[in-house]
Every structure is written in C-alpha cells, then in structure tokens.
C-alpha cells in the first residue's frame, strides 16, 4: 500500500458487517485478493488507490510497456452522471507507475461533445493523466427515427468488427469497435446510476459504449414494439461476446438515483469506489447502493443466466474499506 494511503486509516471488514477496528490497518500482503472491493470515503482518488491495492495493485494487471484501454462513462459534469475525474486521475497515475506505455480513453462519442464547454474539466483530466482520447468514428444518425441507417463509409466501417452472438437470445449480431482489442489491458470504468429504461446501469451496460451506436438504437424497445426486457436481454447478450474486462473500477461517489443516465435527477452519495472482475457481482453490489435488489434487476439476472458472473454476493469474498482522515 502506498505511503499516501497509509497516512490515512483503513478498516477492513466483511461487507455488511460492523467495523472491526478503528485503528490504521494495512491489508495483509499474504491475503489472496478478494473478489470485490469497495472503499468508502470522501476522496475518489484515495478510494480508487485503496481498492486497486486491495486487489493486488495495478502491477497485477499492467506490465511494463503495455497499452491500457480505459472505458469511462462520461455524460457531462452534472452530479451523479459521469465517472469521477478523481478516479481517472488515480488510474492514470497507477498505470503509469506500473509501466504502461500508453493509456487510451476509448469512446465513440463524437469530437463535438469533447469540445463542449461542459467537458473542459474532462479534457484537462485526460491531458494531465497523459491519457490519449481515442474517438472511434461513427456515421451521422439517420434523418428520421427508425429510418434504416445507410452503410457506414469505408473509413468508419474499418474501425468496427461484426461479432456473431451465438448465445444471444435477442441479439444475433453486433458491431463493436476494434479499439477494444487494440490494447493489451482493458479497464472498464463506469458509474453506478439509475437508467430510466433499464432501471440501472453499471458494468454490464457500460459495454454499450463499445458497440456501434446505430446497433445500440435497436436495443431500445420502441423499435421492436416489445417491452423493455428486449434491451436488458440485448445488454446481457452483448456481454457474452465482447472482450472481458481485465479490471473494473466503478464510480459510486455520487450517483443519479432518478432520471438516469443523463439527469438531471435526484442524487445519492455512497462515496464509494468499487473494483473487481465479475461484472454480474459488481452490478449486484452497485444496484444495492441505489436501493435496488440486484438479483431482481432484469439485466443483471439475464447476464447471470448467461453464466457471466455470480449473482449471490455471499458466495464471494467482498471486502469493504473505509477511508478516514488520519487523526495523528
């Protein structure tokens, strides 16, 4: 654990149980890394460092000279809508310390969005973290809703690969950007928050940030005349074919509890950063932070049915850390 962290107090306890000790405590190095770690405290950067250290440190994931792809969720700076910039800064710093040769922020959101006045802090954080913004080209949207999209121009098509979805119950084919496979290490960095369509968005749904936006539109029920479970099944199906994350670091400092994913809406402040590898387990944990019963969230249950992770957190080692200001 870094010096910066040991200056603060951390308490390790099983999830849901009482705090075991109020004293400063180093995580025992001999412990096998837990399945899921959450750290609660007022500073996103510190929380991020703590959860990654608890999982074995960034060196467990990133080796010298490797290219790291990051997939944050940016919806502008409004409260509870985007991955905290403190998390971005901490991850960039840890990847650099681990010897990463390059860090890439992967996105298909168009350049115009990154040029807007409300994203200047994001651009600044990426610049400071020496994170290269990789914007995957997308075609303009169809003129009318529901209109068939014309074929992508060659320069756009070259950036995407078409994947068959053999286990897909709704989704049979999907385009995902090549950039996801063009990095050595992939770190998914979503935020837990409400979604007005699927009730919840976290790790599983973050992958819609890698799939073609025209294909994503077909996830939505209005194009199918079906109910909302269509989208939830599509998200679960998508997760069966995309590259698995090497690590997920999820923002839960402040989260939209209503009117997500864009807001504005009511915000809850769990003041946590959560990390692990199991997409289903992470989303179950995150849903709980929003007052939802994770296993009953349709999208999560469908991903579990696909065998993508564990839905019962009692079967996993879940560690919760509390970051507090040092008193001495």
């Amino acid at each position: 654990m870094s010096r910066q962290i040991t200056r603060r107090g951390f308490v390790r306890a099983s999830a849901g149980s009482a705090i075991l000790s109020a004293a400063t405590l180093s995580l025992a190095a001999a412990d096998a890394p837990p399945d899921l770690v959450a750290c609660q405290g007022p500073d996103a950067e510190q929380n991020t460092r703590a959860v990654v250290e608890a999982l074995g440190g960034m060196g467990r994931y990133v080796k010298r000279g490797q290219v790291v792809g990051l997939l944050p969720n940016f919806q502008g700076p409004r409260p509870g809508a985007s991955t905290d910039l403190g998390i971005i800064r901490a991850v960039a710093s840890m990847c650099r310390d681990a010897g990463a040769s390059e860090m890439r922020c992967l996105t298909w959101l168009p350049q115009a969005l990154w040029d807007r006045p409300d994203t200047k802090n994001v651009r600044q954080a990426l610049d400071e973290g020496e994170i290269k913004l990789v914007i995957v080209p997308v075609p303009p949207p169809p003129a009318k809703r529901g209109d068939p999209a014309p074929p992508d121009p060659p320069e756009v098509a070259a950036a995407w690969r078409t994947l068959e979805v053999p286990k897909g119950l709704k989704l049979k084919q999907i385009r995902v950007f090549n950039a996801l496979w063009e990095c050595d290490v992939f770190i998914s960095m979503p935020i837990f928050k409400d979604h007005i369509g699927s009730r919840f968005t976290g790790v599983l749904k973050n992958y819609m940030g890698t799939s073609h936006p025209i294909d994503n539109q077909k996830f939505h029920p209005s194009f199918e005349g079906a109910n909302l479970e269509h989208m939830e099944q599509c998200v679960a199906d998508l997760n069966t074919v995309v590259r698995k994350p090497d690590l997920c670091i999820v923002a839960a400092m402040e989260c939209l509890k209503t009117n997500g994913p864009f807001g504005p809406g009511d915000v809850v402040k769990p003041q946590q950063v959560v990390a692990g590898h199991d997409r289903v387990a992470l989303d179950v944990y995150g849903a709980g932070l929003l007052g939802l019963d994770g296993p009953k969230v349709s999208m999560i249950r469908r991903a579990y049915d696909h065998g993508l992770g564990e839905i019962d957190l009692t079967k996993l080692e879940v560690v919760k850390l509390f970051a507090m200001k040092a008193t001495c």
């Binding site: 169809p142 009318k144 009730r199 936006p213 864009f262 809406g265």
Partner: protein
Amino acid sequence: MALLLVSITALFLAQAFPELPSEIGSWRVVGAAEKHAGPGLYTYMNGGAELYLEHSFEELMVRFYERGNDQISVELYRMKESGYGVFTLLRSENGEPVAMGDAGFRSGYYVIFSSGKFFCAVTAQSEFTDAAQAAVEIGKTVAALLPPADSASKKIEPLPERDRLLNSDKIIAGPVGLRNVSDALAGLFSGFAEGAAARYGRDKEGSVLAGFMRWRSAAQARAAFKQATQRASKEKDFEAKAANGELSFRDFEGKSGLAVVSGSQVLFAIGPEPTRARELITQLQEKK
C-alpha cells in the same frame, strides 16, 4: 414595440427557439448554441434519449452559462405537441413547485419546467453554494422568452381528481415512461398509444397508483391484456389471477395490483389495499 410584437408572433407561430441572452445576472453565455434534431438526440444524450423520443421530441437547443468555475446548462427541448409529458416524468418527488412557464419544479441543483411545446432543464453542473438559486434565476429568464401556452395536458383529464396527490400526475407515451410509473406494469403491458397515471391518498406512503393505458382499438387492448395475463402467469412473483377481463397481481414491492380491460383502454390501480384499488378503477370507469 412593433418589432417586439412581430418577434413574439413569429416565435409563437414557428415555435422556433428563442435567442437566449448573452448574460443573465452574473452569468455569461459560453460557446455556441448547440442543436440536435430527431434521432440526433442520441449523439447528445448517451442514454435516456428514448424517453424524449417517446414524447415526440423534435429538436434540442443547448447553451452553457459560466460564472468563474461554476457552470449551468440550459437544455431547451421542443416537442411536437407538449413539453408537459416529459416534465411529469422527470419531476422529482423530493422537489418543490416553482412558478416558471406552465409548470415548474426545482430540486437541489436543477430546475425543470414546461411551456407549451417546450420542456426545459436548467442544471448546475456541480453543487456550488447558490446552485439552486442560480438555476431558478436563469430558468425564469428562459421561461419569459417562451410564448405563453397551457401545456398541462388534457391527457390527464381522464384521471379522477378526488384525493389525487399534488404533482403526482404522469403522462405515459411509451414503455420507458411506463417503467417510470411502475416496473410491474412495464413488464406486463406493451404496444399502447398513450396513457396517464397519478397517486391517490393522503401522502405518498400508502397511496394508490391509478391510471390508464389506451390502445388504438378495443381489439388491440384486448390482445395486449391477454398477452399481459400470459406474461403474469409465467412469473410466480406476480401471483397473478385473471378472470372476466380483470387481472389481479402483486407488483415487485408486494403491493396489490388490479388491471381491467375496458374498451380500448386498460385501467389499473396498484396499492397496499385491494379495496381502494378497486374503488379507483370504478372512478376511472366513471370518468371514461
């Protein structure tokens, strides 16, 4: 004066976006006006656009105002018919009404209001000290630039008025809106053209949610009802019972639900007491 009248008249007729002032109090506009039409909303809003599209979204104009490091966004959405539908679905239960446009609401760091065809969200981009006050100030300025209209939709007229909780009405235009109203109903019913719902009782705790969904024909409503009955019977959590055009079920919170097919509509009521739910179904039938 004549020029002002001509401008307002032109705005009223074309329902174009108003020119927002370059300064509002100590707030100064930054960047150029950004516009997105139709499915272009997907490129502005990375998720959640469906709710607006369900309500016949036409075009969005976005502007940003800055004061030092603080920033406020103004998102002005023009709908084909009325901005009130989206307003009802985004109105927070923790907020409070504010005199702005036809109907306004503020909650924490943001203000929303509807005015005729327009829905507007004024959002502080962080929770700075006077965020709510600043959002209200800017919201009122924007609202004053919009043509006066009554956007409080006639679509809620079929809802009984007695015991209806203030600001609880919601206009449902599609599945996303229905989920905003009830997860259970969203899991059961699909394909309707429009609907509305509200809460009834003394306060939210213990209140009954009641409303209707309307299909384009009685045959479509019957087919949707039949499909809902089949869906409910497959999920044991619903504890569904269906007979004589009535479907009783439990929602995901364990509350008693009742849905009744009636002509081209399905009337519904969900609450802690089955008796009160049935009373509201009767009132909905009488209003119909």
